[in-house]
Amino acid sequence: MAKSLISIHDFSKEEILHILEVAREFEQNKSQTFLSDKVIACIFFEPSTRTRLSFETASNRLGARVIGFPDAGNTSVRKGESLKDTIKMVSNYADLIVMRHPLEGSARYASEVASVPVINAGDGANQHPTQTLLDLYSILQTQGTLENLTINMVGDLKYGRTVHSLLQAMSHFSPSFIFTAPEELKMPEEYKNFLSQKEIPYSETLDLNEHLKTTDILYMTRVQQERFTDPMEYERVKDTYRLTARLLEGVRDNMKVLHPLPRLTEIANDVDETPYAYYFKQAENGVYVRMAIIAYLLGKR
């Protein structure tokens, strides 16, 4: 079975650091067309324009040609073809598969059926490991290190898969965590237990203001209305977790605001003009990190 990237757990600490180093190389030299003899399949069973464009840009910058589909709409999948058959077929055409699928576990299954490496570009609410790696790269680039940082996660910490994966990946680098979330969206016990077992300190707060001045990375997430049973509660929480330029007065000089994007109302536009805003650059970093992952899985880096 070819080496795939399905879950962030599939990469060791050393592999993670290697990917980040290679990403740095690609950021410095954005077009390296050494994959010009390769075909990369980007098969998206549900649409995600942002992620797909990032992968397609990464593939193109490496010189590879891209085939695939942006959603399941007009494909044989719609006609009832099994995932197994689709993957078998695509394996015969492409050297690597990038797959997004609404069913959880679909990417792991695809990697077992495929004869070529598979990159999970999101399997339902389960895993999205390239997002985690680009988050790590953004942290490394802004802080100069991954070690001993204080990461403040804000917003939907209950359902947000990006914060869960980031928490697990950061656990290699002796961090401290602050969890800023409304009662309804607190970090689940299983992740807090995970940290306790690894003796990683964390604290929880309802108040966005409380730990801002001791934070190195402020990781903001969307608070989605559909998570709330009470619409009034949503309205209240939505405003409580709204970051503005004024709130950022007096924070650490090295502090950076990250967000997986797209944002709703949780970051005011005036934050964009502050030196702390990093979320657009973070999205751009996704291209270099995905280039690095593709090159690594194809044995070229």
Binding site: S82, K84, P102, L103, E104, G105, Y109, G124, Q127
Partner: protein, 159 residues
């Protein structure tokens, strides 16, 4: 000890085969399902709602002329963790085995997660077992969600 032997006698003795004892009564039919005993051609006797010291009410299964591999029999440890297996030759118990839960379980249990790929495509389920606070949990190999023993859905033969 004497009591136990009397219990065993409530179900007629077998000459050669396997006796599964200390199965919780309410799990008897699931055990039959998992071991596919409904497809068996050798004589089998069941006892259920028998008195037991350690269980509220236990069941016994006696299967003539049939011997199980560990892999096969350990599958029932999921629902009958305290069950024991006695191997009978010529009316004598020649070996007693305690069951243990296998590290990996394939194909017996359905994943609790409704959006797990195994519930939508023709894929054999696969779980890794973990013990947490003395309870066994099943971690889905595919969707990575945890199914507790309480929520266990057995995939039956006549599916």
């Amino acid at each position: 000890m004497e009591n136990r032997e009397k219990e065993v006698l409530k179900v007629s003795a077998i000459k050669n085969g396997t006796v599964l004892d200390h199965i919780p009564s309410e799990q008897l039919f699931r055990v039959i399902d998992i071991l596919r005993l409904n497809l068996s051609t050798t004589p089998i006797t069941f006892g259920m709602n028998l008195d037991s010291k350690s269980l509220k009410s236990k069941a016994i299964i006696k299967i003539s002329d049939r011997f199980f591999e560990d892999d096969e029999i350990n599958r029932i440890a999921l629902i009958a963790p305290n069950a024991s297996m006695n191997i009978i030759r010529n009316f004598e118990v020649i070996e007693k085995r305690v069951l243990s839960i296998p590290e990996t379980i394939t194909g017996i249990v359905r994943c609790i997660n409704p959006v797990c790929v195994t519930n939508h495509q023709e894929i054999e389920t696969k779980f890794h077992t973990y013990e947490k606070d003395g309870k066994i949990e099943l971690h889905c190999h595919y969707c990575e969600k945890t199914t507790g023993l309480k929520n266990l859905k057995i995939i039956t033969n006549d599916r």
